[in-house]
């Protein structure tokens, strides 16, 4: 009988494809991701195992600090469980390739085996007739080395400049001297290879060179290594290991058995190797010591000869020195005597001269007294004569006047006497009249008045007479005076003339004495002449004698010089010989000490877990397992949510049907079965599809991504599907879906049919808080009101929406956040406000030939030097420099190996603030000129100076060079500090805005450079 119940189930599926596919899809994703990721790690390991087995990768690697001899390799091969042993030469070097320096591991390759090997289509398996050919290489490009001096490099390392066949590798130096290790220094690239020993192209291993990591590996033919070089390392394969899964426990235990045997063997290997090395070195040293003894005897003989000669010369010199001393004494005595004689003669002459000088002095005194008297007398006489002449002239002039005056005064006196007489008369008349007149009358009185007047006039006239008489007396006296003076003068003159005559007599006496003195002086001069003649004679005799002595001395001195230089030469030779001998002795001793100190070599037994490539690859595959343990559960959670909502909706939709079925008498279990069946069909088909697809796609995608780092060839499709993981994944997916379905259906199915017939009584619409905000609620549109009420009414839907969106957002944010976090680490490390590493370039020194390090000094330009060596932005390494300091990513340490002064540059081109620029290579832009042009990077302003030419700014602004022509711009002027530059002349400028001044760092200050543009 047909089953309408089943029919209905199929029809339900047919009518709700969307619902069905949603469940199937999400289950497919969940199960697929889980299964796919769980299988990815295993698939990666399987791919690795296939590659390792296909290329006969070693299982154990033996490394000795003193190497291995060929016999030791055979010894190792005879250890139980060891299948194959391959000896290998290897050394780490710094080499230049395409103008850049790399730390390269150089290894030997059996070129014959390599050329004869064949590779399968996938590049996984390398077939070779020689089972002892281990770590087989896969040729990716070019050809195997056919002639000495050719090499193959890794095809997988990403290099600054891609390597091409025909490129040259120039080996510079190694960890120790390369003499005795490498026969040649230049290799030509003949091909590029993949190597299973170096599956990780980013971690090839560690070295003491350069930045500490190996950046390339290089295989050369064994004859490129020195003939007597021991094997550096032995590669060993373990019997039965290749059948095991590399990295699995079985493999590890198989290898461990043999490793521990080799470990037991290691001390014996070390001891035999030590003995061998010591024996060799001792032989060499002994022959050198014989050489030394011979040379020492020789040198000592020669020194003894020279010593005898020197002693002879010394004796001769000392005797001639004594002779010179005695003749010097004689000369001194003769000189003393001559000088005494001369001194006596001189004293006599001098006393005579003194006497003469005395006489001359007295004479001169007398003469000058006489001259003074004469002058005085003559002056007095001349004065008197002048006065006499004067007086005579005055007298002659005044005499007529005086005589005229006397005459006039006499006349006046006579006149006045007459007038007096008249007035006497008149008075007498008036007195007479008065007696006539009554006393008291008018007339009387008038007459009285007249008498008085006349009396007055008489008095007056008496006066005038007196005066005239006085005038006459006076004049007469004057005349007498003048005559007396003249006479007196004339007397004086005659007295002066008598004095002058006496003086002339004194003069004659003096002249006589002066003539006597002159003759005395002439005699003295003759005496002096004689004295000088005698003195000169004596001097010249003495000088002659002295000259003779001096020349004798000179001879002696040159003799001494000769002796001294001979002695010095001898001394230095002796010291030199001594030093050389003791040096040699010391060297011999230290060589002996070295030989004695040769330590027993460390022999390391390293399995694949110690290989960076293999272990990194394995670790990364385990990392994927860890991701698989967490990540897919998010999908499972989403699957549960999706199933729950979908099935809830479905049960809700079919509510009346459920009621009908119940009313018809179907049991709850039967009705539930329908929904469970629906969910099961959807989830099982989804799980199957998801697992089938993603277990292929995911491992392939992850392996492809890892192929950037790891050189492990991908496996061929279809990849193996792990049934246990698939079942677990499917079980989880289906179980979760069924659980969700049961949750969704249970509540509804518990209801009685009567209520199922009715539409579900909606949950009582509660008033929400917003409704209490009357004005706001009234303005809300109807659809918003419904939406808002429903939000709080259907809490489960709300929760599901919120959780779902939160989950999605979290996933997205996690992805972006991870990205940001990782970049922030880089920022914090190297950039930003307070980075851990503040420098782009570190400059150090390394020892020169003399073993001394150049000292780095501050304040000396390093710019051009840096520019020569460092391409900013694509920094390359200069190895062997300062060690133990942190490195810039990608950039390595830079060294000052050349001549000239260096300066520590820290923070060179380091952005100190957001607007700083960094110079960036390579040359770009339409107007590029010259090799030095550079572009600045960063957030500040750039001034375009001239085509293709920008200046770097550090703290300040980019400034055009005033002189324009770019050939002059050899050193950019770097300004440090912050803020803008303003004004200023010469080298002076000030920093506007910021208190921190700028500092000129290199180059010459140029006024225009600092002028605001």
């Amino acid at each position: 009988m047909r089953n309408p119940f089943g029919t209905e189930l199929w029809r339900t599926i047919a009518h709700s494809w969307g619902r069905f596919l949603a469940i199937a899809g999400i289950v497919a994703l969940g199960c697929g991701f889980y299964a796919g990721l769980r299988m990815t790690g295993a698939d990666m390991r399987a791919a690795g195992d296939a590659f390792y087995d296909g290329t006969s990768l070693y299982d154990v690697r033996l490394v000795s600090t003193l190497g291995f001899s060929r016999e030791q390799a055979d010894e190792v091969k005879s250890v139980d469980g060891v299948e194959q042993v391959m000896g290998d030469y290897a050394t780490d070097v710094m080499a230049t390739l395409n103008d850049e320096r790399y730390a390269i591991r150089v290894m030997s390759l059996d070129v014959g085996d390599a050329s004869a090997s064949t590779v399968d289509a996938t590049g996984t398996t390398v077939a070779s007739d020689d089972p002892g050919y281990l770590n087989r290489l896969v040729l990716a490009e070019g050809s195997w080395p056919t002639e000495p001096g050719q090499c193959v490099l890794s095809a997988d390392r990403v290099m600054g400049t891609p390597i091409e066949v025909g490129d040259t590798v120039e080996v510079l130096y190694g960890t120790a001297s390369l003499d005795g290790v490498l026969e040649r220094r230049t290799f030509t690239v003949s091909g590029l290879v993949h190597s299973s020993a170096y599956v990780s192209s980013v971690a090839l291993g560690y070295t003491s060179l350069g930045s500490g990591v190996i950046q390339q590996y290089m295989y050369v033919s064994p004859d490129s290594f020195s003939a007597d070089l021991p094997y550096t390392e032995l590669y060993v394969t373990v019997r039965g290991a290749s059948e095991q899964f590399s990295g699995a426990d079985g493999y590890q235990s198989t290898v461990d058995v043999v490793s521990s045997r080799l470990d037991d063997q290691a001390p014996a290997l070390a001891a035999s190797r030590l003995a061998e090395v010591r024996r060799k070195a001792q032989n060499e040293l002994d022959s050198k010591r014989d050489d030394y003894e011979e040379q020492k005897a020789d040198a000592e003989d020669q020194l003894a000869d020279a010593k005898a000669q020197l002693d002879d010369a010394l004796a001769k010199l000392e005797s001639s020195e004594a002779t010179i001393a005695s003749s010097e004494e004689e000369l001194a005595a003769a000189r003393e005597e001559a000088y005494a004689r001369l001194a006596d003669a001189k004293d006599e002459l001098l006393s005579t001269e003194e006497a003469l000088d005395d006489g001359a002095g007295q004479l001169a005194d007398a003469q000058s007294q006489l001259d003074a008297k004469r002058d005085e007398a003559e002056q007095a006489k001349a004065g008197l004569e002048a006065k006499l002449a004067d007086a005579q002239r005055h007298y002659d002039e005044a005499k007529p006047q005086i005589e005229a005056g006397i005459a006039q005064a006499t006349a006046t006196k006579a006149d006045l006497g007459r007038q007096r007489a008249e007035a006497q008369d008149q008075k007498a008349q008036l007195e007479a009249l008065l007696k006539t007149q009554t006393e008291g009358s008018a007339e009387y009185q008038a007459t009285e008045a007249k008498i008085d007047a006349v009396a007055a006039a008489i008095a007056k006239l008496d006066e005038g007479i007196g005066a005239a008489q006085a005038t006459i007396d006076d004049l007469a006296k004057r005349q007498a005076d003048a005559e007396g003076g003249i006479a007196q003068l004339e007397g004086g003159i005659s007295k002066a003339e008598a004095g002058l005559a006496a003086i002339a007599q004194g003069q004659a006496t003096l002249d006589g004495k002066s003539a006597e003195l002159a003759s005395g002086r002439e005699q003295l001069e003759a005496g002096w002449d004689t004295y000088y003649e005698q003195r000169d004679e004596a001097e010249s005799q003495l000088a002659d004698a002295a000259d003779q002595i001096a020349s004798g001395k000179e001879e002696l001195a040159s003799g001494w010089d000769e002796y001294d230089s001979g002695k010095a030469e001898y001394d230095s030779n002796a010291a030199d010989v001594d030093a050389r001998l003791s040096d040699a002795a010391q060297q011999l001793a230290s060589a002996q000490a070295d030989i004695d100190a040769i330590a027993s070599p460390d022999v390391y037994v390293l399995d694949r877990t110690k290989s960076t490539g293999v272990s990194n690859y394995h670790d990364d595959s385990v990392r994927i397992d860890n991701i698989a343990a967490v990540f897919p559960f998010i999908f499972f959670l989403v699957a549960a949510l999706v199933s729950l909502t979908t099935m809830t909706r479905m049960v809700e939709d079919e509510r009346v049907d459920i009621g009908t079925h119940k009313a018809l008498g179907f049991s709850t279990a039967r009705i539930t079965a329908k929904y469970l069946a629906y969910a099961a069909i959807a989830s099982v088909s989804g799980a199957v599809l998801g697992i089938a697809v993603l277990s292929q796609v995911l491992p392939a995608v992850v392996e492809k991504a890892y192929a950037i780092i790891y050189d492990v060839p991908a496996q061929a499709f279809p990849l193996p599907v792990d049934p246990a993981i698939s079942l677990l994944a499917a079980g989880l997916g289906v179980g979760i879906t069924l659980g969700a379905t049961w949750l969704a259906a249970a509540a509804t199915l518990r209801e009685v049919p009567a209520t199922l017939m009715l539409p579900r009584a909606p949950k009582a619409g509660k008033r929400i808080l917003l409704e209490r905000l009357g004005p706001l609620w009234r303005r809300t549109s109807f659809s918003w009101k419904v939406t808002l009420r429903n939000l709080f009414r259907y809490k489960r839907r709300l929760a599901m929406t919120v959780v779902g969106i939160a989950g999605c957002t979290a996933l997205l944010l996690t992805g972006l956040g991870l990205h940001d976090a990782i970049w922030d680490i880089i920022d914090n490390q190297f950039e930003g406000a307070n980075p851990v590493f503040r420098f782009n370039v570190e400059v150090g020194t390394r020892p020169g030939r003399d073993g001394r390090r150049r000292r780095l000094r501050r304040g000396v330009p390093l710019g051009p030097w840096l520019r020569r060596r460092v391409h900013l932005g694509r920094q390359r390494e200069h190895a062997g420099l300062v060690r133990g300091t942190p490195r810039h990513p990608g950039g390595e340490r830079h060294g000052a190996a050349g001549r000239g002064q260096l300066r520590v540059v820290r923070g060179h081109a380091r952005p100190r603030h957001p607007a700083a620029h960094r110079l960036r290579r390579p040359l770009r832009g339409p107007h590029r000129e010259g090799r030095d042009a550079a572009w600045a990077r960063g957030g500040g302003h750039l001034h375009r100076v001239r085509p293709g030419r920008h200046r770097q700014r550090q703290g300040g602004r980019l400034c055009p060079h005033p002189h324009g022509h770019h050939r002059e711009l050899r050193l950019p002027l770097l300004l440090r500090g912050r803020g803008r530059l303003s004004g200023g002349d010469g080298a002076r400028f000030r920093a506007a805005r910021d208190p921190l001044p700028h500092r000129l760092r290199r180059g010459r200050a140029c006024p225009a450079l600092l002028r605001p543009p």
Partner: protein, 233 residues
Amino acid sequence: MAFVEFSDVRKTYRMGEVEVHAVDGMSFSIEEGELCVIVGPSGAGKTTVLNMLGGMDSCTSGTISLDGREVSSFSPRELTLYRRYDVGFVFQFYNLVQNLTALENVELASQIGRDPLDPAGVLAEVGLGNRLDNFPAQLSGGEQQRVAIARAIAKNPKLLLCDEPTGALDYTTGKQVLSILQRTCVEGGRTVAIVTHNQAFEAIANRVIHIREGRAAAVETNSRPAGADTLEW
């Protein structure tokens, strides 16, 4: 003891603070083989009574018994079996499964019945012998109601319960449906209870129960009911 016994049955719905006494001390009985019409105004409690009788709802108090068994004290499992074997229900709104054809809808009921009738035969009986493979959506309301009746009859139940079987039908179709029901009762010897508010139906009933405000207000018996064809309203 009568075939169907309601004694002092109460059904109270609680809606928050308010209690609605849908059925409030209902007592009546129906004899086996009778066609009983239950009439009353809207909201009187007719559907509630029918649901409780059909085992689709439980009563709050009182006892309901059918054929001597006390339905009101059945466990959910017994109720399921009771619904499956003893009762046929015709819903007011047909309640056909939309995904199944007319025949499949009937088969759905008959396959779980104890002694089911031939689904195609039952459908032919209700006049739909040529519409077996039509989906409900392809049938008219009357036809759907007839499918629903066929589905109820096909289980061969002792008691056929019909809630407003003609409520959504026109006069002629309603008469057709009524005559089918009467035929089932008279010819099939089944007890049939029809809920309606149409008092015209009283004529065809052996027993008429008047319900008012959750109580059986009056019970009339009619020993000579009229044929459904003769009914006029």
